[in-house]
């Protein structure tokens, strides 16, 4: 698609979004699609570099994950480096495929949960049940962490 048509599409989107009441900031930049091959498994990332100094990094494969927003371009490469090293490490495990399967299932469950609240009037009792199940799941993760040997030391876990 030529630049002319890209600009036109951008104008149409902006016009519609502004009519919806949005404030739209137009940040020109370069979108990077990055792909690594790990013994038959594709590890894909997407990020956007621009002059504004905010960089959004997302992992697209083997399962989608919003990695975060960073202030420097160097951080992006650093994060990808760690993520890739962790993936390589995890790949050695016999449970890697199961790990991917559970992660993909979690992503789908997230969407199910969102649809539940956007499309249905969920009762308080059911909401509390869901919260309780989530707490149990969180506890299970922490319990599993405590029972498992740590294998990656280059950086500390972000959430555990």
């Amino acid at each position: 698609m030529s630049k002319q048509f890209l600009d036109l599409e951008k104008d149409i989107h902006e016009l519609k979004l502004r009519q919806m009441g949005a404030e739209v900031e137009d940040i020109r930049g370069i979108m990077h699609y990055v792909c690594f091959k790990l013994d038959g498994t594709s590890v894909k990332y997407v990020y956007h570099i621009n002059k504004k100094g905010k960089y959004f990094l997302q992992r697209r494969s083997p399962y989608p994950l919003n990695v975060g927003t960073y202030e420097s371009k160097e951080d992006i490469i650093n994060i990808i480096q760690h993520d890739l090293a962790q993936m390589k490490n995890a790949k050695k495990s016999k449970k890697f495929d199961k790990f991917i399967e559970i992660n993909q299932s979690l992503s789908i469950t997230m969407r199910n949960f969102e649809d539940l609240f956007l499309y249905y009037n969920v009762s308080r009792t059911q909401t509390e049940k869901l919260e309780e199940a989530l707490q149990q799941f969180k506890s299970l993760i922490l319990e599993t962490r405590d029972m498992s040997e740590r294998v990656y030391f280059e950086k500390d876990p972000d959430t555990l």
Binding site: M1, S2, Q4, F5, D7, L8, E9, D11, I12, L15, K16, R18, Q19, G21, R28, K51
Partner: protein, 426 residues
């Protein structure tokens, strides 16, 4: 010299490059670049001479206007005017078409036609989507209006910019001599379009109400920049009106406006310069070298002698020949290389005969600009609109457009014939 090796080589290169440009097999700038370099490499024209053939007035005017438009379009002013106009019609499709076409025609008289259709197209698509109506009648009307509006002024269409730059005719000369004809042609075109499209422009009342829900104020993105841009644009247009009287070239006026706006707008110059249509600018540059080489080897003079032999130096016959050939040719060919070739040709006709060639410039401008309406490939604006429609799943075929565009183009050339005859040739 005619008959020399350089002469033959120049003709072969020029015709080959022209044929490839018409075929659209290779990007027009790429092939014009190759042709221009070939002329220099084969020493048909020297490098210094090649640089001298480039008309920097045209280049300066184009770049100056592109910079100003690129800053102005960031303000959302065009979308504001278009939404406001659509609301004034209370959502009536025919009157929306008239309003959007009029905005396009007026904008095209002051800005590049492609830029104008790219500015008006997003609003048109959003409005027609809200009305649940086919956008083709609106976009076709905008193509026709852009090309007619562009005819009216020196800065409206590249052929006029080139004619003005080469002949010394000024902004007011173009406005006084071409705007009345363009205005009549615009009214007649709208009248005919009403009959062609009236059955397609019907919508339910509740859809009309959707248009009234649009808020034009939300389209304005930067009020301060808008004020600055409008002030500079107003002074620039005033400068165009006065440039002949104060001894300034139109390019100087446009470049002054652009530099002042860039300075006071505090927009990022890197982004603004990135937005300039450099491919178009370089196409002009290489085309000037190609045509300049043809002129250098004597080919243009030879063709001019042939034309004078046919017309016997008769002004009426020459003017009508220029008008109709320009009109028909521009319907199928890119009018920029066509006009670039015709300018030295008309200058040579003037040198070979004693006729006043000024009416020939008006004939060339009317023919080349209005001819663009004849087919979907007749002008850059047409190609862009066809592409936009196709990308939005409303394809208009070459024949489908030609059924409307070509007869309307012929009508406009007939009106131009009458206009030229009554005011310049009688």
């Amino acid at each position: 010299m005619p008959g020399s090796l350089h002469f033959i080589a120049a003709i072969i290169i020029f015709i080959s490059i022209y044929a490839i440009i018409i075929s659209e097999k290779i990007n027009r700038t790429t092939i014009a670049f190759f042709g221009a370099v070939l002329m220099i490499l084969l020493k048909i024209i020297g490098l210094d001479q090649a640089f001298e053939t480039i008309d920097f007035h045209t280049i300066g005017l184009l770049i100056g206007m592109m910079i100003m438009v690129n800053i102005l379009k960031r303000t959302g002013a065009f979308q504001y005017i278009a939404i406001k106009s659509a609301k004034l019609t209370k959502g009536d499709p025919w009157y929306i078409l008239v309003m959007l076409s009029t905005i396009t025609a007026i904008s095209s008289a002051l800005l590049d036609n492609v830029t104008t259709v790219l500015l008006i197209a997003p609003v048109t698509l959003v409005i027609t989507e809200a009305l649940e109506i086919n956008p083709i009648p609106f976009m076709v009307a905008e193509i026709l209006s852009a090309n007619i509006g562009g005819t009216a002024t020196l800065i409206g269409d590249p052929p006029n910019i080139m004619i003005g730059s080469e002949t010394g005719l000024g902004f007011m000369d173009f406005l006084i001599n071409l705007a009345p004809a363009a205005f009549v042609i615009y009214l007649v075109t709208l009248f005919i379009l009403k009959f062609i499209y009236k059955s397609q422009l019907k919508v339910q009342e509740e859809l009309k109400a959707k248009i009234m829900q649009f808020n034009e104020n939300l389209a304005i993105t930067d009020k301060v920049l808008l004020k600055k841009s409008l002030i500079v644009l107003a002074f620039t247009i005033l400068g165009f009106g006065l440039h002949q009287f104060v001894g300034l070239e139109t390019a100087t006026v446009a470049l002054t406006g652009a530099s002042v706006l860039l300075l006071i707008s505090k927009t990022d110059p890197e982004e603004i310069f990135h937005e300039i249509e450099w491919l178009t600018i370089f196409f002009f540059i290489f085309l000037f070298v190609l045509v300049g080489t043809l002129e250098e080897v004597g080919a243009i003079e030879m063709i001019a002698k042939g034309v004078v032999d046919i017309t016997q130096g008769n002004l009426l016959m020459t003017a009508l020949l220029v008008l109709w050939i320009s009109g028909i040719a521009s319907a199928f060919l890119d009018n920029i290389p066509f006009v670039a070739t015709m300018i030295p040709l008309i200058q040579s006709i003037g040198a070979l005969t004693s006729i006043n060639i000024t009416p020939l410039w008006w004939a060339l401008a009317l023919g080349a600009c209005l001819g663009g309406n004849g087919t979907l490939v007749g002008a850059s604006a047409n190609v862009v609109v066809a592409g936009i429609l196709e990308k939005h799943k409303h394809r208009i075929s070459f024949v489908e457009y030609m059924k409307i565009g070509f007869p309307l183009m012929i009508v406009s050339i007939i009106i131009s014939t009458v206009y030229l005859y009554v005011f310049y040739l009688m």
